[in-house]
Symmetry: C3
Subunit: 285 residues, 3 copies
């Protein structure tokens, strides 16, 4: 029988945790979901992850969930970046190996973090109308479908009650981009630009040719057939190791390669954006 992480496995815990990420921005939409959740699961401990995700940016939302959920207690977590709301895209619930249940649209948003939490153990479509609000709008499934289903699960409703099982291979796939090697260089994609302007790459230090401590690197932006060189930069462990305003290649707190500027915005200074492809070539000490 399915059990839901903390709720059924750790009965001493007084309040089920519910992580919550959307692209709703400021407005009352996130608060309306909070209200629906608390009306069903009065003791839910809602942990807001981010509601300022770039509008409709499923990849950004997927990155932020991937970065955040491993640090939250096991719970029922809600992710909503849903440009296809009201269309044929399906609402899903994913039970993962760590014990969490992830609730959201089947558009890939939940897939990278599901993988990071040990992989999907059981996937189900959200079809049980008894766990949703009575009236379903066509533009706000956060309020009408996702929030109430998550709240019922947080209250102890067994996961199999949400709806029929679906094969993982039937879900919309989305994975973090992987780096490749090419002629002694690393080719990596920018997967996220954080609020400081640091540029996070879909690559790890161990992907670098010649070892994870390259000294200096040459970095170029690849745009179609064009190659735009960036200023040379040091590989460093902390921002403080380079001058204020200088760029550095570093290992971010997720273990990813990243490019930053000490007390500045790498994205602005270097003209970089999510989805850009970079070539990184170690130059030595």
């Amino acid at each position: 029988m399915a059990t839901i992480g903390r709720v059924t496995e750790r009965p001493a815990s007084p309040r089920p945790v519910l992580g919550f990420l959307t692209d709703f921005g400021s407005d009352s939409a996130a608060a309306i979901c909070r209200g629906v959740i608390l009306s069903i699961a009065r003791d839910a401990q809602i942990v807001d992850i981010d509601h300022a995700v770039r509008k409709f940016a499923i990849g950004d939302g997927a990155f932020l969930l991937w970065a955040a959920l491993p640090w939250l207690p096991v719970g029922v977590h809600l992710g909503i970046v849903d440009p296809g709301v009201g269309t044929a895209r399906r609402p899903v619930g994913l039970r993962v190996a760590r014990g969490d249940v992830l609730i959201g649209p089947d558009n890939g948003l939940l897939m990278p973090v599901a993988d990071r939490l040990g992989g999907i153990v059981e996937a189900r479509l959200l079809e049980n109308r008894e766990l949703m609000l009575d009236q379903l709008s066509s533009t706000f499934h956060g309020r009408d479908v996702f929030a109430p289903v998550a709240a019922h699960l947080a209250s102890g409703v067994p996961f199999e009650r949400v709806g029929p099982a679906v094969a993982v291979s039937d879900l919309t796939a989305l994975s973090m981009p992987e780096a490749t090697r090419e002629d002694g260089s690393l080719i990596a994609e920018i997967v996220y630009v954080d609020s400081f302007g640091n540029v996070r790459l879909g690559a790890r230090p161990s992907d670098l040719p010649g070892g994870s401590d390259p000294g200096h690197v040459a970095v170029s932006l690849l745009q179609g057939g064009l190659v735009r060189p960036l200023p040379p930069m040091r590989a460093a462990r902390t921002f403080g190791e380079v001058a204020v305003g200088a760029a550095l290649l570093y290992e971010d707190s997720n273990g990813l390669l990243a490019i930053g500027v000490n007390q500045g915005s790498a994205a602005t200074v270097l003209g970089l954006a999510t989805g850009d492809r970079l070539r990184i070539t170690p130059r030595g000490g």
Copy 2:
């Protein structure tokens, strides 16, 4: 005798809910109010509705409270958009039919949602200094008056202790704009632009001449004597029914007519703002 919603009617509930909306923006002002509330009602469950309300925009705040509070549990709710702080405008508390108490300035902010929650059962001026902080500043009644009074109510202080009753007819009126018909068209006002740029109208589908499912519509912006036609658009149920970048007329999650752009901002693309008046004319399938 007055009772306060959940607090006295549902004694098993462990934590009184306190919805909280302001135009304080980022800064510590909302946190200071949270601190005051928790210092008085340590178990209050504060539900932040929005603190990024457009500065001094009483109408925006009123819309957001109207949209959000019906979805929150019954509680003591705090709304502060208060350009007249420190002047003769009065602080008020409104007990509504659903059982909530609404706390804020008497400038209309609380009136539409009071109506939506069943209407005002009892209105009182906040005059009991014992329920306020010892020192009253002239610019931060959120901290000194509204937050502590709300927290005392959430802790179980009876509503009649806040101050003398006031007639509802003595309160500053504010109601959602109503739509009118004119020569087979609907004239409606934009009551709110949400964070996606969707334009919410003071009208419902049933207000449309010729029925709530008009097929296509012609929409014009009325500015003084001028009429600026917008691109023709479909009436649709979901954003996904129109092309990316195309406009649609839809029923929003509040049951209001709204204009959106699929994966875009209707306000930006169409040049619309709160307070604008639109003429909507059904054109058929």
Copy 3:
């Protein structure tokens, strides 16, 4: 023996309060810290103070903590504006006379509020690796050091366990700028611009030559050797006492002198920014 405010002194209190301020902005970084805190201190009541502090602006963060923490219940509070993360700057904990413990980097951020909460009773370096996460990144001490140490303290770990005592004179100093008098004028520095655009000064009404109720004032901006006069303005108690769009000198809710514009932004209208020095000369009724 050290005790930690509410946690050990008031055992009946069900949930330890944890105030939390950062310059992390939107992103999942603050949520990751929340997750770490709740994984250690599941019943912590996290009170978000502000996460939109201007990037790297230690002075802004210091002002906001100074303004907010006196209004929060006694607790373990976390302040992170940390441009020197990963370098030699030290992580510290400050126990203050009111009973709180303040956790953050030793860069001055915590010093003004420590003073306002009665002064530092005991300062310690955060060096006990048992209270931190197993892996320390070099760029995210919020997650790896500050959040877990604060959470352990909130759970009842005695303060002396965080690491060795350090003399207060060894800490990085930071104090609110003080006003001076010059030829019948007050010279004061702008210490913060709030989200309304109100300009808060490092001066109090009692600092004004000729008494705290000056009637009208002449104000000039001092830039190097240049003096730029601002429009003359009234000293007033509330914004509503001057016309919409007019400037006023007032006493803010912290007891500081401030310059505002009724329903506008003084910083924008008058061209003022944090760090600017003003000369204020009373002109009488």
